[in-house]
């Protein structure tokens, strides 16, 4: 299998997006997002629901062109969708009337390949995602994990230089999710194309990404970018991993306004009432909100 060494860099420059609302101020979905992704890099975009991360991905893909700012991929501004930018959706979006291989083949309809080359590409990618033997299965006959694998194969078959993944494992059970994360990592290490993964799972973001971009909601903006300088395959029990996870989670607790006050500032010490509202340590459920 020849590894593709062609990948593109992505420059997101001051991108903002608003939705007009009926009888009110426009709703800002994204606010001045700027990010530079190197060619061949794996970047995770992490945020809770409603922070605009999926919207951002759609803008990069070219599915949506109504925004201010620029998105430049390998020197060209993004104006529309392109076969060079593959995308995997959260709902696998396989065509139910086609088999697995036919679905992957459907991606190649406009590819400049001969029929034989297309068939070979399909077979190659079926094997890549580990679904040999299931070429003739219809989507309703596949489990969620398998269908999502087909979707990933479909996203890769055009040998795009960029692969965008929108919460691809969100709809799967935890065990399958873990397995597919390993698969995706393996594929990335093999193909080395630029990948941007959008997720709400902190572990997933840290496990797969070289950098993790945390986003805050309303309006969507980048909170911070964390470098994950850990060797692969990463150990989820590695203390460094755990420390990074805590760091990232703290970001989310902070934005909920339930940050734990340092010991000296407790209002108990000010009997005549202070200007601050006493805050207890956030219960477990509050932490969950970060997800």
């Amino acid at each position: 299998m020849t590894a593709s060494t062609l990948s593109d860099s992505i420059d997101i420059l001051h991108v903002s997006k608003r939705y007009a609302q009926q009888g009110g101020a426009p709703l800002a979905v994204l606010d001045d997002i700027s990010l530079r992704v190197r060619a061949g890099e794996f970047v995770s975009v992490l945020g809770s629901s409603g922070c605009g991360k999926s919207t951002l991905l759609r803008l990069i893909a070219g599915l949506d062109t109504d925004y201010s700012g620029d998105i430049v991929v390998a020197g060209d501004k993004v104006r529309d969708t392109s076969l060079e930018r593959g995308i995997v959706f959260q709902d696998h979006r396989l065509f139910p009337w086609l088999t697995a291989s036919q679905n992957i083949l459907a991606a190649l309809r406009n590819a400049p390949l001969s029929a034989r080359e297309k068939r070979e590409a399909v077979a190659e990618h079926i094997a890549l995602v580990g679904l040999k033997g299931f070429e003739n299965a219809y989507p309703h006959q596949l489990s969620g994990g398998m269908a999502q694998r087909v979707a990933i194969a479909r996203g890769l078959v055009n040998r795009p230089r960029v692969l965008l993944l929108d919460e691809p494992f969100g709809a799967l059970d935890a065990l399958t999710r873990g397995r597919l994360q390993n698969e995706l990592q393996r594929i990335w290490e093999h193909e080395r194309i630029t990948m941007i993964l959008v997720t709400h799972d902190v572990d997933e973001a840290l496990y797969l990404g070289e950098r993790v971009v945390t986003m805050a909601p309303r309006p969507g903006r980048i909170k911070r970018i964390v470098d994950v300088a850990l060797p692969r395959p990463r150990e989820r029990n590695d203390p460094r991993f755990i420390r990074l996870r805590d760091e990232v989670l703290a970001d989310f607790a902070e934005q909920d306004g339930t940050r734990r006050e340092p010991q000296e500032d407790r209002d108990d010490d000010r009997p005549n009432g202070g200007t601050r509202v006493p805050v207890a340590s956030p219960p477990i459920t509050e932490w969950r909100l970060a997800w």
């Binding site: 009337w97 406009n110 580990g130 033997g133 299965a137 219809y138």
Partner: protein, 292 residues
Amino acid sequence: MSLALFKRSSQSQQSADASCDCGAPASFRRAAQPRRPLLTRVDWRGAVLPVIAIVIWWAVSEAHVVKSGLLVSPAQVLATAWQQIESGALLKALSASLAREASGFVIGTLGGLLLGSALGFSRLATRMVGPSFDTFKQISLFAWIPLISVWFGLGDAAKVVFLSLAALLPVTAHTCDGIHAVPRAYIEVARAFRYSRWQLIRAVILPAALPSIFTGIYLALIYSWLATLGAEYLLVAGSGIGNTLIDGSEQFRMDLVLFGVIVVGVTGWALNALARAVERAIFARRFQSATR
């Protein structure tokens, strides 16, 4: 109605982890099951009522208890049936009716597909034509027959016009609905793969809308059959199974009427079965339980 598809085989832990979520399939063929003998397979209880009814009917007619020319015995009905079949009258009437129905159905379906597609692809057109179309649909179709008879006479032309109309309505509605209902998700996938407009229609919209379109055509078949009967009652020139029925009732021949009723029932059932078979052939593989 799921088909048994994979044979799950036990696999070693290693290969299971490495490749897929379940045991590798041996094949995707329909699983063969041994067939139970006919006697136990069919539920004979359903036949009890009809048998009893026929027995009672026969007994009452034999006993000459009821003095009415209307009470014909089953034997008489059978005799009439035989006579109709043998003389070719049945064939003539039925084929005339079916021929008319077929023409009306085909014309109406084709027109409906065209109109429905035009409406489906343009939301503006749907907005302009849709409400009027809906309103038109809700006026009992048969109310138009007298007008049609004025414009087209009482013969075959009028009947076919009416039948085409009966077929056109459901096909248009369902084609239009089917096209509107194609999920945006699929259209976005097509955009991601740079499908041209024509490719989009052929590869995404058409297959996605096909179940709905088929339902429309199925209804058109049923409705045009019902319309055939009605048309034959009201536009009495010509021959057909409906005419046979009306003649029978005018001549006070219950045996002929009963025979006609049975023929109508059987034909309706046959059309239904045909449509279901076609539907299974097209859809069984692709959609699990889309038809049920």
